[in-house]
Protein backbone atom coordinates (compact mmCIF):
# COMPACT_ATOMS: atom_id res chain seq x y z
CA UNK A 1 0.00 0.00 0.00
CA UNK A 2 2.78 2.40 0.86
CA UNK A 3 4.63 1.44 -2.30
CA UNK A 4 1.53 2.29 -4.30
CA UNK A 5 1.32 5.76 -2.81
CA UNK A 6 5.01 6.28 -3.35
CA UNK A 7 4.61 5.53 -7.03
CA UNK A 8 1.85 8.06 -7.25
CA UNK A 9 3.97 10.78 -5.62
CA UNK A 10 7.66 10.57 -6.48
CA UNK A 11 8.34 13.74 -4.43
CA UNK A 12 6.46 12.56 -1.38
CA UNK A 13 7.57 14.23 1.82
CA UNK A 14 9.88 16.77 0.21
CA UNK A 15 7.83 19.70 1.53
CA UNK A 16 8.48 18.40 5.04
CA UNK A 17 12.20 18.53 4.42
CA UNK A 18 12.25 21.94 2.71
CA UNK A 19 12.56 24.22 5.80
CA UNK A 20 15.47 22.21 7.18
CA UNK A 21 17.11 21.99 3.79
CA UNK A 22 16.81 25.77 3.42
CA UNK A 23 18.08 26.49 6.92
CA UNK A 24 21.08 24.17 6.73
CA UNK A 25 22.08 25.26 3.24
CA UNK A 26 21.81 29.00 3.95
CA UNK A 27 22.99 29.14 7.57
CA UNK A 28 25.41 26.25 7.67
CA UNK A 29 26.78 25.24 4.29
CA UNK A 30 26.92 28.71 2.71
CA UNK A 31 28.88 30.23 5.64
CA UNK A 32 31.34 27.31 5.46
CA UNK A 33 31.79 27.91 1.75
CA UNK A 34 32.41 31.60 2.50
CA UNK A 35 35.14 30.60 4.95
CA UNK A 36 36.71 28.43 2.26
CA UNK A 37 36.64 31.29 -0.29
CA UNK A 38 37.88 33.97 2.13
CA UNK A 39 40.77 31.71 3.20
CA UNK A 40 42.31 32.29 -0.24
CA UNK A 41 41.85 36.08 -0.20
CA UNK A 42 44.16 38.90 0.84
CA UNK A 43 43.57 40.64 4.18
CA UNK A 44 41.70 43.93 3.77
CA UNK A 45 41.93 47.02 6.00
CA UNK A 46 38.90 45.94 8.06
CA UNK A 47 40.40 42.45 8.71
CA UNK A 48 38.07 40.99 6.07
CA UNK A 49 39.06 39.52 2.72
CA UNK A 50 39.71 41.12 -0.68
CA UNK A 51 41.16 40.17 -4.04
CA UNK A 52 43.67 39.01 -5.28
CA UNK A 53 43.65 35.37 -4.27
CA UNK A 54 46.67 34.09 -2.41
CA UNK A 55 47.98 30.97 -0.68
CA UNK A 56 49.93 32.88 1.97
CA UNK A 57 47.49 32.11 4.80
CA UNK A 58 47.84 28.40 4.21
CA UNK A 59 51.61 28.79 4.15
CA UNK A 60 51.48 30.51 7.54
CA UNK A 61 48.98 28.03 9.00
CA UNK A 62 51.09 25.04 8.00
CA UNK A 63 54.32 26.93 8.65
CA UNK A 64 54.74 29.07 11.74
CA UNK A 65 51.39 28.03 13.27
CA UNK A 66 51.86 24.28 12.79
CA UNK A 67 53.24 23.76 16.34
CA UNK A 68 49.93 25.03 17.76
CA UNK A 69 48.00 22.83 15.33
CA UNK A 70 50.01 19.78 16.40
CA UNK A 71 49.60 20.70 20.05
CA UNK A 72 45.82 20.87 19.57
CA UNK A 73 45.73 17.48 17.86
CA UNK A 74 48.00 15.96 20.50
CA UNK A 75 45.94 17.28 23.42
CA UNK A 76 42.70 16.22 21.69
CA UNK A 77 44.09 12.70 21.15
CA UNK A 78 45.27 12.50 24.77
CA UNK A 79 41.89 13.76 25.99
CA UNK A 80 40.14 11.07 23.95
CA UNK A 81 42.49 8.38 25.27
CA UNK A 82 42.07 9.41 28.92
CA UNK A 83 38.28 9.66 28.51
CA UNK A 84 38.27 6.18 27.00
CA UNK A 85 40.44 4.72 29.76
CA UNK A 86 38.15 6.16 32.41
CA UNK A 87 34.86 6.05 30.52
CA UNK A 88 34.91 2.44 29.39
CA UNK A 89 35.28 0.87 32.85
CA UNK A 90 32.77 3.38 34.19
CA UNK A 91 30.18 2.56 31.50
CA UNK A 92 30.86 -1.14 32.05
CA UNK A 93 30.43 -0.72 35.79
CA UNK A 94 27.11 1.13 35.41
CA UNK A 95 25.57 -1.27 32.92
CA UNK A 96 26.49 -4.35 34.96
CA UNK A 97 24.65 -3.16 38.10
CA UNK A 98 21.85 -5.65 38.66
CA UNK A 99 19.34 -3.42 40.41
CA UNK A 100 17.55 -0.95 38.14
CA UNK A 101 17.49 1.68 40.88
CA UNK A 102 21.26 1.51 41.43
CA UNK A 103 21.85 1.58 37.68
CA UNK A 104 19.67 4.67 37.22
CA UNK A 105 21.37 6.36 40.15
CA UNK A 106 24.85 5.62 38.78
CA UNK A 107 23.81 6.98 35.38
CA UNK A 108 22.21 10.03 36.98
CA UNK A 109 25.51 10.78 38.74
CA UNK A 110 27.22 10.93 35.33
CA UNK A 111 24.51 12.94 33.60
CA UNK A 112 24.03 15.60 36.27
CA UNK A 113 27.48 17.22 35.89
CA UNK A 114 26.88 17.04 32.13
CA UNK A 115 23.81 19.24 32.56
CA UNK A 116 25.65 21.80 34.60
CA UNK A 117 26.86 24.82 32.67
CA UNK A 118 30.10 23.96 30.89
CA UNK A 119 31.85 27.15 32.03
CA UNK A 120 30.90 26.56 35.65
CA UNK A 121 32.15 22.98 35.49
CA UNK A 122 35.47 24.08 34.03
CA UNK A 123 35.78 26.79 36.66
CA UNK A 124 35.05 24.21 39.36
CA UNK A 125 37.99 22.14 38.12
CA UNK A 126 40.13 25.25 38.15
CA UNK A 127 39.15 25.93 41.77
CA UNK A 128 40.41 22.47 42.65
CA UNK A 129 43.73 22.77 40.78
CA UNK A 130 44.70 26.45 40.95
CA UNK A 131 47.77 27.71 42.83
CA UNK A 132 45.52 29.01 45.61
CA UNK A 133 43.13 26.13 44.98
CA UNK A 134 41.89 23.29 47.13
CA UNK A 135 44.54 20.67 46.37
CA UNK A 136 47.50 23.02 46.69
CA UNK A 137 45.98 24.69 49.75
CA UNK A 138 45.53 21.42 51.62
CA UNK A 139 48.95 20.05 50.66
CA UNK A 140 50.66 23.31 51.70
CA UNK A 141 48.76 23.36 55.02
CA UNK A 142 49.85 19.80 55.71
CA UNK A 143 53.40 20.77 54.99
CA UNK A 144 53.71 18.25 52.17
CA UNK A 145 54.61 21.01 49.72
CA UNK A 146 56.81 24.07 49.99
CA UNK A 147 55.58 25.61 46.76
CA UNK A 148 52.25 25.11 45.03
CA UNK A 149 52.22 22.59 42.17
CA UNK A 150 51.58 24.23 38.82
CA UNK A 151 48.47 22.37 37.75
CA UNK A 152 46.74 25.10 35.72
CA UNK A 153 47.74 27.77 33.20
CA UNK A 154 49.62 25.16 31.20
CA UNK A 155 48.85 22.26 28.85
CA UNK A 156 48.28 19.90 31.76
CA UNK A 157 45.45 22.12 33.01
CA UNK A 158 43.88 22.17 29.55
CA UNK A 159 44.08 18.38 29.32
CA UNK A 160 42.47 17.80 32.72
CA UNK A 161 39.82 20.45 32.00
CA UNK A 162 38.89 18.85 28.70
CA UNK A 163 38.78 15.31 30.11
CA UNK A 164 36.51 16.65 32.83
CA UNK A 165 34.30 18.53 30.38
CA UNK A 166 33.92 15.76 27.81
CA UNK A 167 33.96 12.54 29.88
CA UNK A 168 30.14 12.14 29.82
CA UNK A 169 30.23 12.25 25.98
CA UNK A 170 32.37 9.11 26.17
CA UNK A 171 30.45 7.29 28.90
CA UNK A 172 26.94 7.58 27.45
CA UNK A 173 27.50 5.99 23.99
CA UNK A 174 29.62 3.20 25.52
CA UNK A 175 26.94 2.63 28.16
CA UNK A 176 24.35 2.28 25.38
CA UNK A 177 26.39 -0.37 23.60
CA UNK A 178 27.46 -2.32 26.71
CA UNK A 179 23.84 -2.37 27.87
CA UNK A 180 22.86 -4.09 24.62
CA UNK A 181 25.71 -6.59 24.94
CA UNK A 182 24.62 -10.15 25.66
CA UNK A 183 26.88 -11.50 28.41
CA UNK A 184 26.20 -15.09 27.35
CA UNK A 185 28.86 -14.49 24.69
CA UNK A 186 31.42 -14.21 27.49
CA UNK A 187 30.25 -17.54 28.92
CA UNK A 188 30.56 -19.03 25.45
CA UNK A 189 34.10 -17.68 25.11
CA UNK A 190 35.01 -19.17 28.52
CA UNK A 191 33.53 -22.51 27.52
CA UNK A 192 35.70 -22.41 24.43
CA UNK A 193 38.77 -21.95 26.61
CA UNK A 194 39.32 -18.19 26.58
CA UNK A 195 40.38 -16.50 29.80
CA UNK A 196 38.87 -13.16 30.89
CA UNK A 197 41.57 -11.16 29.19
CA UNK A 198 41.10 -12.92 25.88
CA UNK A 199 37.30 -12.87 26.16
CA UNK A 200 37.45 -9.12 26.67
CA UNK A 201 39.72 -8.38 23.70
CA UNK A 202 38.17 -10.86 21.30
CA UNK A 203 34.48 -10.69 22.25
CA UNK A 204 33.43 -7.81 24.52
CA UNK A 205 35.48 -5.02 22.97
CA UNK A 206 34.69 -5.78 19.29
CA UNK A 207 30.97 -5.98 20.05
CA UNK A 208 30.97 -2.70 21.97
CA UNK A 209 33.17 -0.98 19.38
CA UNK A 210 30.32 1.16 17.94
CA UNK A 211 29.95 2.85 21.33
CA UNK A 212 33.71 3.32 21.66
CA UNK A 213 33.95 4.89 18.21
CA UNK A 214 30.93 7.16 18.72
CA UNK A 215 32.22 8.27 22.12
CA UNK A 216 35.71 8.92 20.75
CA UNK A 217 34.31 11.06 17.92
CA UNK A 218 32.12 13.01 20.36
CA UNK A 219 35.15 13.74 22.55
CA UNK A 220 37.79 14.27 19.87
CA UNK A 221 35.86 16.75 17.68
CA UNK A 222 35.08 19.36 20.34
CA UNK A 223 38.57 18.89 21.82
CA UNK A 224 40.33 19.83 18.58
CA UNK A 225 38.43 23.10 18.26
CA UNK A 226 38.16 23.85 21.98
CA UNK A 227 38.01 27.51 22.88
CA UNK A 228 36.65 27.83 26.42
CA UNK A 229 38.80 25.27 28.24
CA UNK A 230 42.16 26.62 27.01
CA UNK A 231 41.14 30.15 28.00
CA UNK A 232 40.04 29.16 31.51
CA UNK A 233 42.58 26.40 32.22
CA UNK A 234 45.54 27.01 29.95
CA UNK A 235 46.47 30.66 30.22
CA UNK A 236 49.01 31.86 27.67
CA UNK A 237 50.95 28.60 27.69
CA UNK A 238 47.94 26.42 26.91
CA UNK A 239 46.53 28.20 23.86
CA UNK A 240 45.14 25.94 21.15
CA UNK A 241 44.19 26.37 17.50
CA UNK A 242 40.62 27.35 18.46
CA UNK A 243 41.90 30.37 20.39
CA UNK A 244 44.14 31.36 17.51
CA UNK A 245 41.19 31.20 15.09
CA UNK A 246 38.98 33.22 17.44
CA UNK A 247 41.65 35.90 17.75
CA UNK A 248 41.76 36.35 13.96
CA UNK A 249 38.06 37.18 13.98
CA UNK A 250 38.38 39.72 16.80
CA UNK A 251 39.20 43.43 16.70
CA UNK A 252 42.43 43.78 14.70
CA UNK A 253 42.50 40.24 13.41
CA UNK A 254 43.01 38.64 10.05
CA UNK A 255 39.86 36.88 8.89
CA UNK A 256 41.44 35.22 5.81
CA UNK A 257 44.17 33.74 8.04
CA UNK A 258 41.58 32.59 10.58
CA UNK A 259 39.57 31.09 7.72
CA UNK A 260 42.59 29.17 6.43
CA UNK A 261 43.21 27.82 9.94
CA UNK A 262 39.54 26.78 10.16
CA UNK A 263 39.72 25.01 6.81
CA UNK A 264 42.84 23.08 7.83
CA UNK A 265 41.31 22.12 11.18
CA UNK A 266 38.03 21.13 9.54
CA UNK A 267 39.85 19.00 6.96
CA UNK A 268 41.66 17.13 9.71
CA UNK A 269 38.42 16.53 11.62
CA UNK A 270 36.49 15.50 8.49
CA UNK A 271 39.36 13.23 7.47
CA UNK A 272 39.14 11.50 10.83
CA UNK A 273 35.32 11.37 10.58
CA UNK A 274 35.71 9.69 7.19
CA UNK A 275 38.10 7.18 8.71
CA UNK A 276 35.57 6.54 11.48
CA UNK A 277 32.84 5.95 8.90
CA UNK A 278 35.08 3.57 6.94
CA UNK A 279 35.94 1.60 10.10
CA UNK A 280 32.26 1.37 10.96
CA UNK A 281 31.50 0.14 7.46
CA UNK A 282 34.32 -2.35 7.69
CA UNK A 283 33.26 -3.74 11.07
CA UNK A 284 29.65 -3.93 9.86
CA UNK A 285 30.75 -5.99 6.86
CA UNK A 286 32.97 -8.17 9.06
CA UNK A 287 29.95 -8.83 11.28
CA UNK A 288 27.97 -9.82 8.21
CA UNK A 289 25.48 -7.00 8.73
Amino acid sequence: MRGERAERQPWQGLWLATPTLFWLLVFFVLPLLLVAVVSFMTRAQDAGGMLPFTLQHYERTLGIFSPILWRSLRIAALTTLLCLMMGYPLAFFISTRRSTVVRSLCLFLVILPFWTNFLIRTYAMRTLLANEGTINGILLDLGLLLQPLRLVDNQFGVLIGMVYGFLPFMVLPIYASVERFDFRYVDAAHDLGANDWRAFWRVVLPLTMPGVLAGSALVFIPSVGAYVTPVLMGGVRGLLIGNLIARQFGGSGNMPLGSAMSVVMMSVVLGIALLYWLIQRFTAIADGR
Binding site: G13, L14, W23, P89, T116, N195
Partner: protein, 304 residues
Protein backbone atom coordinates in the same frame (compact mmCIF):
# COMPACT_ATOMS: atom_id res chain seq x y z
CA UNK B 1 56.34 -35.41 24.16
CA UNK B 2 55.53 -37.22 27.35
CA UNK B 3 55.16 -34.99 30.35
CA UNK B 4 55.10 -36.42 33.82
CA UNK B 5 51.46 -36.44 34.93
CA UNK B 6 52.08 -34.85 38.33
CA UNK B 7 54.21 -32.05 36.99
CA UNK B 8 51.67 -31.36 34.27
CA UNK B 9 48.89 -31.03 36.80
CA UNK B 10 51.01 -28.75 38.97
CA UNK B 11 51.82 -26.60 35.97
CA UNK B 12 48.16 -26.43 35.03
CA UNK B 13 47.33 -25.63 38.61
CA UNK B 14 49.75 -22.73 38.77
CA UNK B 15 48.45 -21.49 35.41
CA UNK B 16 44.92 -21.56 36.79
CA UNK B 17 46.05 -19.73 39.89
CA UNK B 18 47.80 -17.13 37.80
CA UNK B 19 44.65 -16.72 35.74
CA UNK B 20 42.56 -16.31 38.85
CA UNK B 21 44.99 -13.74 40.23
CA UNK B 22 44.92 -11.76 36.97
CA UNK B 23 41.17 -11.98 37.03
CA UNK B 24 40.91 -10.68 40.59
CA UNK B 25 43.33 -7.81 39.94
CA UNK B 26 41.62 -6.98 36.63
CA UNK B 27 38.21 -6.93 38.23
CA UNK B 28 39.39 -4.79 41.07
CA UNK B 29 41.12 -2.33 38.74
CA UNK B 30 38.39 -2.20 36.14
CA UNK B 31 35.23 -2.57 38.11
CA UNK B 32 36.11 -1.01 41.46
CA UNK B 33 39.05 1.36 41.38
CA UNK B 34 38.47 3.11 38.04
CA UNK B 35 34.73 3.75 38.58
CA UNK B 36 35.41 5.12 42.09
CA UNK B 37 38.14 7.33 40.69
CA UNK B 38 35.89 8.46 37.81
CA UNK B 39 33.04 9.40 40.13
CA UNK B 40 35.44 11.26 42.42
CA UNK B 41 36.84 13.05 39.39
CA UNK B 42 33.35 14.04 38.18
CA UNK B 43 32.05 15.16 41.55
CA UNK B 44 34.95 16.48 43.60
CA UNK B 45 35.17 19.86 41.82
CA UNK B 46 31.42 20.36 42.11
CA UNK B 47 31.38 19.38 45.78
CA UNK B 48 34.26 21.77 46.47
CA UNK B 49 32.28 24.63 44.89
CA UNK B 50 29.21 23.65 46.86
CA UNK B 51 30.95 23.43 50.23
CA UNK B 52 33.07 26.56 49.88
CA UNK B 53 30.13 28.64 48.70
CA UNK B 54 29.17 28.60 52.40
CA UNK B 55 32.67 29.55 53.56
CA UNK B 56 33.12 32.75 55.49
CA UNK B 57 36.48 33.61 53.91
CA UNK B 58 37.68 33.60 50.35
CA UNK B 59 39.74 30.43 50.80
CA UNK B 60 38.77 27.31 48.88
CA UNK B 61 40.97 24.99 50.95
CA UNK B 62 40.22 25.91 54.55
CA UNK B 63 36.76 26.28 56.07
CA UNK B 64 37.00 29.19 58.48
CA UNK B 65 33.33 29.31 59.36
CA UNK B 66 29.95 28.85 57.77
CA UNK B 67 28.22 31.88 56.35
CA UNK B 68 25.58 32.81 53.81
CA UNK B 69 27.50 35.97 52.94
CA UNK B 70 28.11 35.15 49.30
CA UNK B 71 24.45 34.34 48.78
CA UNK B 72 23.42 37.55 50.54
CA UNK B 73 25.69 39.43 48.16
CA UNK B 74 23.89 37.96 45.17
CA UNK B 75 20.53 39.00 46.56
CA UNK B 76 21.92 42.44 47.37
CA UNK B 77 22.79 42.90 43.69
CA UNK B 78 26.58 42.60 44.12
CA UNK B 79 28.44 39.84 42.33
CA UNK B 80 31.81 40.93 41.06
CA UNK B 81 34.36 43.31 42.49
CA UNK B 82 33.66 46.07 39.99
CA UNK B 83 30.38 47.78 39.28
CA UNK B 84 30.27 45.85 35.99
CA UNK B 85 28.76 42.77 37.50
CA UNK B 86 25.38 43.04 39.18
CA UNK B 87 22.66 40.49 39.83
CA UNK B 88 20.26 42.51 37.71
CA UNK B 89 22.57 42.20 34.72
CA UNK B 90 22.94 38.50 35.31
CA UNK B 91 19.18 38.03 35.45
CA UNK B 92 18.82 40.07 32.29
CA UNK B 93 21.33 37.86 30.51
CA UNK B 94 19.48 34.82 31.85
CA UNK B 95 16.24 36.20 30.40
CA UNK B 96 17.97 36.63 27.05
CA UNK B 97 19.18 33.03 27.27
CA UNK B 98 15.71 31.72 28.07
CA UNK B 99 14.14 33.75 25.27
CA UNK B 100 16.70 32.57 22.71
CA UNK B 101 16.53 28.96 23.89
CA UNK B 102 12.71 29.07 23.84
CA UNK B 103 12.35 30.44 20.31
CA UNK B 104 15.16 28.38 18.80
CA UNK B 105 13.86 25.22 20.48
CA UNK B 106 10.36 25.83 19.13
CA UNK B 107 11.54 26.46 15.56
CA UNK B 108 14.05 23.61 15.51
CA UNK B 109 11.57 21.17 17.09
CA UNK B 110 8.91 21.92 14.47
CA UNK B 111 11.15 21.74 11.43
CA UNK B 112 13.34 18.99 12.93
CA UNK B 113 10.30 16.77 13.47
CA UNK B 114 9.16 17.54 9.94
CA UNK B 115 12.49 16.52 8.46
CA UNK B 116 12.56 13.34 10.56
CA UNK B 117 9.16 12.40 9.09
CA UNK B 118 10.40 13.20 5.60
CA UNK B 119 13.49 11.03 6.11
CA UNK B 120 11.63 8.02 7.52
CA UNK B 121 8.37 8.12 5.56
CA UNK B 122 9.21 10.24 2.53
CA UNK B 123 10.68 9.38 -0.81
CA UNK B 124 12.43 12.01 -2.85
CA UNK B 125 15.71 12.53 -4.68
CA UNK B 126 18.54 13.87 -2.54
CA UNK B 127 17.31 12.16 0.62
CA UNK B 128 20.71 10.68 1.33
CA UNK B 129 22.41 14.06 0.89
CA UNK B 130 19.98 15.58 3.39
CA UNK B 131 20.72 12.70 5.73
CA UNK B 132 24.44 13.49 5.53
CA UNK B 133 23.78 17.21 5.93
CA UNK B 134 22.13 16.53 9.29
CA UNK B 135 25.42 15.20 10.66
CA UNK B 136 27.27 18.41 9.77
CA UNK B 137 26.57 20.22 13.05
CA UNK B 138 27.88 17.16 14.91
CA UNK B 139 31.18 16.84 13.04
CA UNK B 140 32.04 20.50 12.42
CA UNK B 141 33.82 22.00 15.46
CA UNK B 142 31.81 24.73 17.18
CA UNK B 143 34.50 27.33 16.65
CA UNK B 144 34.21 26.83 12.88
CA UNK B 145 30.42 27.17 13.06
CA UNK B 146 30.85 30.36 15.05
CA UNK B 147 33.39 32.10 12.84
CA UNK B 148 31.68 31.01 9.61
CA UNK B 149 28.41 32.57 10.78
CA UNK B 150 30.25 35.71 11.89
CA UNK B 151 31.76 35.99 8.41
CA UNK B 152 28.39 35.28 6.80
CA UNK B 153 26.52 37.88 8.85
CA UNK B 154 29.18 40.54 8.38
CA UNK B 155 29.26 40.02 4.60
CA UNK B 156 25.46 39.99 4.55
CA UNK B 157 25.34 43.24 6.55
CA UNK B 158 27.86 44.92 4.24
CA UNK B 159 25.97 43.81 1.17
CA UNK B 160 22.60 44.88 2.60
CA UNK B 161 23.93 48.32 3.53
CA UNK B 162 25.25 48.79 0.02
CA UNK B 163 21.90 47.72 -1.45
CA UNK B 164 19.44 49.49 0.82
CA UNK B 165 21.44 51.76 3.10
CA UNK B 166 20.01 50.03 6.18
CA UNK B 167 22.20 48.59 8.92
CA UNK B 168 21.66 45.05 10.21
CA UNK B 169 22.44 44.74 13.91
CA UNK B 170 23.64 41.47 15.34
CA UNK B 171 21.68 40.39 18.41
CA UNK B 172 18.65 38.25 19.15
CA UNK B 173 17.95 37.46 15.49
CA UNK B 174 21.41 36.30 14.50
CA UNK B 175 21.87 34.25 17.67
CA UNK B 176 18.50 32.53 17.23
CA UNK B 177 19.26 31.72 13.57
CA UNK B 178 22.59 30.20 14.61
CA UNK B 179 21.06 28.18 17.45
CA UNK B 180 18.34 26.79 15.19
CA UNK B 181 21.02 25.79 12.68
CA UNK B 182 22.75 23.48 15.15
CA UNK B 183 19.64 22.36 17.06
CA UNK B 184 17.72 20.93 14.09
CA UNK B 185 20.07 17.97 13.85
CA UNK B 186 19.69 16.97 17.51
CA UNK B 187 15.88 17.09 17.29
CA UNK B 188 15.79 15.29 13.93
CA UNK B 189 18.09 12.46 15.05
CA UNK B 190 16.17 11.84 18.29
CA UNK B 191 12.73 11.96 16.61
CA UNK B 192 13.94 9.78 13.75
CA UNK B 193 15.10 7.09 16.18
CA UNK B 194 11.63 7.12 17.73
CA UNK B 195 9.92 6.95 14.31
CA UNK B 196 12.06 4.03 13.16
CA UNK B 197 11.12 2.13 16.33
CA UNK B 198 7.41 2.84 15.84
CA UNK B 199 5.11 0.10 14.67
CA UNK B 200 3.70 1.27 11.27
CA UNK B 201 0.60 -0.90 11.63
CA UNK B 202 -1.22 1.74 13.68
CA UNK B 203 -0.90 4.27 10.88
CA UNK B 204 -2.01 1.77 8.25
CA UNK B 205 -4.98 0.82 10.40
CA UNK B 206 -5.99 4.48 10.69
CA UNK B 207 -5.77 4.90 6.93
CA UNK B 208 -7.75 1.72 6.36
CA UNK B 209 -10.42 3.16 8.64
CA UNK B 210 -10.63 6.19 6.35
CA UNK B 211 -8.48 8.81 8.09
CA UNK B 212 -6.60 11.13 5.74
CA UNK B 213 -2.86 11.82 6.15
CA UNK B 214 -3.39 14.91 8.28
CA UNK B 215 -5.78 13.18 10.65
CA UNK B 216 -3.57 10.08 10.81
CA UNK B 217 -0.62 12.23 11.76
CA UNK B 218 -2.31 14.18 14.54
CA UNK B 219 -4.34 11.28 15.97
CA UNK B 220 -1.84 8.41 15.64
CA UNK B 221 1.71 9.33 14.66
CA UNK B 222 2.17 12.47 16.73
CA UNK B 223 0.99 11.03 20.08
CA UNK B 224 3.27 8.03 19.52
CA UNK B 225 6.38 10.07 18.70
CA UNK B 226 5.61 12.77 21.28
CA UNK B 227 8.10 11.45 23.89
CA UNK B 228 10.80 11.56 21.20
CA UNK B 229 9.78 15.08 20.18
CA UNK B 230 9.88 16.23 23.81
CA UNK B 231 13.25 14.56 24.41
CA UNK B 232 14.60 16.26 21.26
CA UNK B 233 13.18 19.62 22.33
CA UNK B 234 14.70 19.29 25.80
CA UNK B 235 18.06 18.43 24.28
CA UNK B 236 17.87 21.45 21.94
CA UNK B 237 16.83 23.69 24.84
CA UNK B 238 19.72 22.58 27.05
CA UNK B 239 22.29 22.88 24.30
CA UNK B 240 21.06 26.35 23.40
CA UNK B 241 21.02 27.46 27.04
CA UNK B 242 24.57 26.16 27.53
CA UNK B 243 26.08 27.36 24.26
CA UNK B 244 28.96 29.77 24.55
CA UNK B 245 31.11 29.63 21.41
CA UNK B 246 28.52 30.04 18.63
CA UNK B 247 26.69 32.71 20.66
CA UNK B 248 29.95 34.54 21.28
CA UNK B 249 30.53 35.00 17.55
CA UNK B 250 26.97 35.74 16.45
CA UNK B 251 25.86 38.15 19.19
CA UNK B 252 26.28 41.87 18.76
CA UNK B 253 28.38 44.00 21.08
CA UNK B 254 26.77 44.49 24.50
CA UNK B 255 24.32 41.64 24.07
CA UNK B 256 24.79 39.00 26.76
CA UNK B 257 23.40 35.55 27.32
CA UNK B 258 24.01 33.82 30.65
CA UNK B 259 27.10 31.86 29.47
CA UNK B 260 28.57 35.05 27.94
CA UNK B 261 27.96 36.90 31.20
CA UNK B 262 29.44 34.07 33.28
CA UNK B 263 32.50 33.92 31.03
CA UNK B 264 33.12 37.62 31.54
CA UNK B 265 32.70 37.19 35.27
CA UNK B 266 35.14 34.26 35.41
CA UNK B 267 37.74 36.10 33.39
CA UNK B 268 37.48 39.57 34.89
CA UNK B 269 36.23 39.16 38.43
CA UNK B 270 36.57 35.65 39.85
CA UNK B 271 35.22 36.00 43.41
CA UNK B 272 33.72 33.31 45.66
CA UNK B 273 30.28 34.70 44.71
CA UNK B 274 30.71 32.50 41.64
CA UNK B 275 30.65 29.45 43.93
CA UNK B 276 27.28 30.55 45.24
CA UNK B 277 25.95 31.27 41.74
CA UNK B 278 27.19 27.86 40.59
CA UNK B 279 25.44 26.16 43.47
CA UNK B 280 22.17 27.89 42.57
CA UNK B 281 22.62 26.89 38.91
CA UNK B 282 23.38 23.32 39.93
CA UNK B 283 20.12 23.16 41.87
CA UNK B 284 18.30 24.46 38.78
CA UNK B 285 19.92 21.88 36.47
CA UNK B 286 19.09 19.08 38.92
CA UNK B 287 15.45 20.08 38.65
CA UNK B 288 15.70 20.00 34.84
CA UNK B 289 17.32 16.55 34.93
CA UNK B 290 14.51 15.39 37.21
CA UNK B 291 11.92 16.58 34.68
CA UNK B 292 13.79 14.88 31.84
CA UNK B 293 14.03 11.58 33.74
CA UNK B 294 10.31 11.76 34.51
CA UNK B 295 9.66 12.23 30.79
CA UNK B 296 11.88 9.29 29.93
CA UNK B 297 10.04 7.18 32.48
CA UNK B 298 6.81 8.05 30.71
CA UNK B 299 8.40 7.23 27.37
CA UNK B 300 9.32 3.76 28.60
CA UNK B 301 5.70 3.12 29.54
CA UNK B 302 4.15 4.17 26.19
CA UNK B 303 3.10 1.42 23.86
CA UNK B 304 5.09 0.38 20.88
Amino acid sequence: MVVEAGRGAALRNSAVQRDLAIRAVGRWLGLTLTPIFAYAFLWLPILVLLVFSFNESKSVSRLSGLSLGWYEGIFANVIGTGADFSTDEMLESFQNSLFIAGISTFVSTVIGTMVALALVRGRFPGKRILDGLLYFPLVIPEITQGVSLLLFFSILAKWWRAMSGQVIQRGYGTVIIAHVAFSISFVALVVRARLVDMNPNYEEAARDLGANEWRTFWRITFPLILPGVLAGALLAFTISLDDFVVTFFTRGAGFDTLPIYVFGLLKLSPTPAINAISTLMLVLSSLLVGVSLALQGREARTIR
